[in-house]
Symmetry: C2
Subunit: 502 residues, 2 copies
């Protein structure tokens, strides 16, 4: 049986021009949910924003989730006389695009190559999703205000490393309600970010301050703020927490803190003249999207046991006016944060306050808790990039330079998809993606080579799946120095894209 | 037949305490060669330095080249009654160290595991060579003078990318006679250096100037100088040139220039406020060690056809006084370098003048040209580090982060050693090495993991060789932030060092 919760036919789809439309004859669930949300919302909730975010989430996920039911219906027709035209009509209506003729045309010989067709549809849907993202910016949010606020709080950069788990992919834009372009996000399994990579980013940031005075001049008393977002499951803590830390929440928090401290020490030891950074540790309940923030003291030291929970704040402030609710948050932080600098207190208050909207979002659009508290990703994203993925449980991230270094993370992803897809006869769809800086000569060619090399390494590591048509890849690059769309380099659904270098 | 030129028994060896001693009863070839050198040297040659450098080269290479003849003699004894004690006596005398008892003790069962024993000896010799290098600094040279000179010439950093070919491994300390610690060296196949890696180094260097005023303050009118050293063979140009450019010297020079220009453009495009770098293109005849320098014009543009050859200068100035020889070099550069900035002209003059000593070195210690104009490396060095390797044809370099990315370079190395060693039944010895910054928390552990991961990937890529005992690895890390010795993590000669992560 397919995971019907995930693969049920939804009522929204992309039209052929990639613009979202409600399919005719179906009641609009967005409007209905918005009405429910308005009735019982927290005083600090931004309902309009919630409705907009939900519309987007719903629309994107529906597009992916329409694939299986549509292909099921098409499969039933495959030996009929007017199969190709009926299949195309059905695809246009349900998915918003036509299917590749070559695959349909071969169906009469034996049967439809459903694994190829499924992957083709996932990749086409991903392509349309990206095109919409980079052309019409559906999650736009003013970032200048936030940058100014951040500098007022004493920080010139906010660099967050969440866990690579797909259930945290929406942490910036949804959970924390921050403008995703104003925050650096780099995900790692268990939130155990790469210290050498972070040091290099720190160096780049500081040089920009010295040379260009951006985002603040080098003499401004601001600092680089590095945050970790670990996670846990309040409903099923022993099974649905962070796999990298064996679902042990204490271990996840402790490991995140240690990595933060190690990075701080690395900056202090590698550079002289009082170089340092500030640290922030955030926990996320992936069932309800409520965060907790571990408070630093006046010296920046973080006490794992001294935390403020957004869930508690939500309950305590639900009946208050917006002003009194804000005051309650500030009071909570002041009472528990001994000698906490004013700027850090303001930033934490903003994060907690923002998170109340997301708690309401989950309550009203997804029930008290998400239905998919476990993994339900639609594809694996492997490589560097994926700025467009700001949605929960859409993508299993494997940020990687090489399969060799990221083998353990990839194995976890393939294991998840073995359960989600392979167990039902469907392939693992992997988007291999490298973003590059267009102003660096040769960078595009190197990104393309990078894609092909990683594709080849994937096929070699998962040769058994690949040979059985149970691993399909889409190769994509993007010039990230401009708001360019993605560029499709090749895909296994159209035949082999890479050759072994042996 | 083994390569007897390379494997002949030399007269010098390390004593058991790693201090070099002349073996008793053999005439001292260093002194004899020095006498020859003095008789017919170029007026600008530093004969004393040449003797010192030759002594070191001779000593290190002899230590490696004594292994095969010694093991041959030991092999002949293996079924005799007092085998172990006689073998140890012979090893102590010829190699300066004892052999591992475990390997000798098993000889009676079938026969000596000569592949393991050979690899063990190569690794032990490498270990002793490294220990000497990092404890007594045998190639020391005052670096402060050179740094000051470089800044006077208008450069705060000299970053040279030679080809990864073992015949260029001595380019800094021998060919150009520069203090190796004052020059950044990063070798790549075909000298095609990584632009993103160089950008990151540029960023780090500039930040240090801004924050610490080192090596010059940010407002000093100095620049980052990036140089490429490509190579060719004057004796056998079609076969012994750069393999990455199919022994086509024009193509090698052109490719080096294009990569330099791309890096310059990357700096200009990625950073504002007039950020740029200066470029230098150097060619090396690997038969004679004579360099040529392609002269930039006043705008820094390099004309491939406008070059000064150290070989020509050597011939033209051989009968002059030192002062007139120096004057001749300066004149040559001034005549051909249109609008060449004074600082760049001074630096090029220094490089050409220094190279005259090396031309004499090759003439007097190695005949007019090296005997080993082709590959004759003793081991493969794979990873990041190898500061101690400043000798020609000692190491085939494969600077790498992962086998996945460096597969093509490694394949070339393994092919070379298939001819040098495997064809004679001897294994390919690979030193897997990662240097780390000790002040960065966890860096040592990550370097060790890195070694093990690469070792495992090597065994997987060259499974056929590894299974037949024809690929042996030594795993090494080193804290490069201090003058520490190397640290041995494990070796395949003592049993498996890594486990597959599958």
């Amino acid at each position: 049986m397919l995971n019907t919760r995930r693969h049920q036919n939804r009522s929204l789809c992309w039209s052929q021009t990639a613009a979202p439309v409600a399919c005719p004859g179906v009641a609009d669930p967005v409007r209905a949910a918005t009405r429910r949300a308005d009735a019982d919302r927290h005083p600090l909730t931004d309902s309009q924003e919630n409705a907009r975010l939900f519309d987007y989430e719903q629309r994107v996920k529906s597009a992916f989730d329409s694939i299986v039911p549509t292909l099921k219906r098409i499969s039933a027709l495959q030996h009929e006389a007017d199969f190709e035209s009926r299949a195309q009509a059905m695809a246009r209506e349900q998915l918003g695009f036509e299917l590749p003729e070559a695959i349909l045309a071969d169906a009469w010989v034996t049967q439809l190559d459903m694994r190829r067709l499924f992957s083709w549809c996932v990749f086409e849907t991903y392509h349309r999703f990206c095109d919409e993202f980079f052309s019409s910016d559906p999650l736009s949010q003013p970032q200048t205000d936030f940058q100014r606020f951040l500098i007022e709080c004493g920080f010139h950069t906010l660099d967050i490393s969440p866990c690579a788990d797909g259930r945290l992919a929406h942490v910036i834009r949804y959970v924390l309600r921050l403008p995703y372009r104003a925050v650096r996000r780099k995900s790692y399994a268990g939130a155990l970010f790469d210290i050498e990579d972070s040091l290099s980013k720190w160096t780049e940031t500081e040089l920009q301050r010295f040379r260009e005075g951006k985002p603040s001049t080098a003499d401004a008393p601001t600092r680089y703020l590095k945050a970790v977002a670990y996670h846990f499951s309040s409903t099923d803590p022993d099974n649905e927490g962070c796999a990298a830390h064996a679902s042990d929440v204490r271990r996840a928090a402790q490991a995140g803190l240690q990595r933060l401290q190690a990075f701080q020490q690395a900056v202090q030891n590698s550079f002289c003249c009082g170089a340092s950074i500030d640290l922030l540790l955030i926990g996320l309940d992936t069932d309800s999207d409520a965060i907790c923030v571990h408070l630093p003291d006046g010296d920046g030291n973080i006490d794992l046991d001294n935390r403020v929970d957004a869930g508690d704040i939500y309950d305590a402030t639900r009946a208050l006016s917006p002003q009194r609710a804000e005051q309650h948050i500030a009071d909570q932080i002041r009472q528990r944060g001994i000698d906490l600098p004013e700027g850090m207190a303001r930033l934490i208050a903003r994060l907690l306050s923002n998170n109340l909207s997301q708690i309401d979002y989950v309550r009203h659009y997804h029930g008290a808790r998400y239905q998919d508290i476990g993994h339900a990703e639609r594809f694996i994203g492997a490589g560097i990039g994926f700025e467009e993925v700001q949605l929960r449980n859409l993508t299993y991230f494997a940020y990687l330079r090489t399969v060799e270094e990221a083998a353990a993370d990839l194995d976890v992803g393939v294991k998840i998809f073995s359960r989600l897809n392979v167990a039902h006869g469907l392939p693992v769809p992997v988007v291999v993606r490298y973003d590059y800086h267009g102003q660096v000569p040769g960078a595009r060619d190197r990104a393309i080579q990078h894609c092909r090399r990683v594709d080849s390494a994937l096929r070699s590591r998962y040769a058994d799946l690949a040979e059985r048509g149970l691993l399909h890849t889409l190769l994509v690059v993007r010039d990230c120095s401009a708001s360019h769309r993605i560029e499709m380099i090749g895909s296994s659904v159209n035949g082999p894209v890479t050759q072994e270098r042996h």
